[in-house]
Amino acid sequence: MMALLKRDLAIATRSGGAAMLGVLFFLAVVAVIPFGIGPDLNLLSRIGPAILWIGALLASLLGLDRLFQADREDGSLDMLVMQDWFGLVATVFVKCLAHWLATGLPLVLAAPLLGLLMNMSATSTGAVMLTLVAGTPAISFIGAVGAAIAVALPRGGLLVSILILPLAIPILIFGVSASYAAVTDPDPFLPPFMILSAIALFFAALGPVAAAAALKGASD
């Protein structure tokens, strides 16, 4: 399984890989907001965490449909599916992990830079980074289900996003509310953050199993 992690990371970082695509999209989305909103620093810092979270969510969804489709196109997916049930679930889990390391982690690391653009305080930026660390893996894990369902469709990208978005909304809500709670005084930070972490753990357990079932059923 380490071999699979290494392979997927190598593919994501080589030319044409998905790693840079997501983070560039994130930069583009967030960087144009200040120009659109105008130089109202108070407004920017107030909406900053939400904008960063929305940007990260969309960037995470961007390359998701390729998660299994690339393997399907070159025939590797047949070998991945030709395993016992536990092996297949573990394979999907590892692929999600690799996907997060290649596309989710760079978003977390790019957040402080974009926090500056949005005139966010250090605390606020830190809170966004922390919630992104907990929240973006959840998007990868539940996204795998959509990617597995749409694997046989030639242009499944939009379908994956539509399938996943309702499930990703709770992640967004609790991610943003935890980020705000860190800077607005009476609100406690911990409860929404704990719920966000719980969602991430739940999706990490459920996503690979559901995706594995979809892959087993989708073979043609």
Binding site: R7, A10, D74, G75, D78, M79, V81, M82, Q83, D84
Partner: protein, 232 residues
Amino acid sequence: MFWTGSPPFLAVRSGDRMRATATKLKGRRGDSVLFDDISFSVGRGEALVVTGPNGAGKSTLLRMLAGLLAADSGSFTLQGDDGADLPVAEFAHYLGHRNAMKRELRVSENLSFWQRFQRPEDGQGLSVDAAIEAVGLSGVAHLPFGYLSAGQQRRIALARLLVARRPLWLLDEPTAALDSRSDRLFADLVHAHLAEGGLAIAATHQPLGLDRVIPLELTGIHRAATGAGEVW
């Protein structure tokens, strides 16, 4: 584990009971029945060669055997030397139309990935370099897979079967894109595999030059799924 003797997979002829058996397999695409009532049994050192016109269901049959498609009815089992059922997915190599290699990665990276991913627990199989050598392509190991020609890519895909040793080979048009010299090389590889006690089921029109070939011809008569009766 079913391999109890010391040199497991290579110590063949003594047990000689590993068999791949299909009983009354039925496959369909949409509403038309591609084949029905397919039964065969392949033992160690034997090859089943599936022939038939385009669209006769050769690929469907092989994907069914690999467990990638559910059979309409019937079953396919692989029995070990001790008579116990083995999971086909872990004891069979499937080589489909596509090569299962990443264009972005080097040939050696591709093969060593599959070696680590597919090698059975007792770790039998050639080293990556030896496998590349065996398909006659030494010197390409450092190139990205996408740089190779179609025929070379196919030969590297064949090398995957060598880096992780599995007893049953399921080959779907394995010689597509190969020139006649590579055809012979491929026939030799299958020959060696069978001589070591392997089993092979191949959809190919290429004469393999083997002595123990079981022919299976799919006629490709498509019938409505409702109509019962013999198809081939």
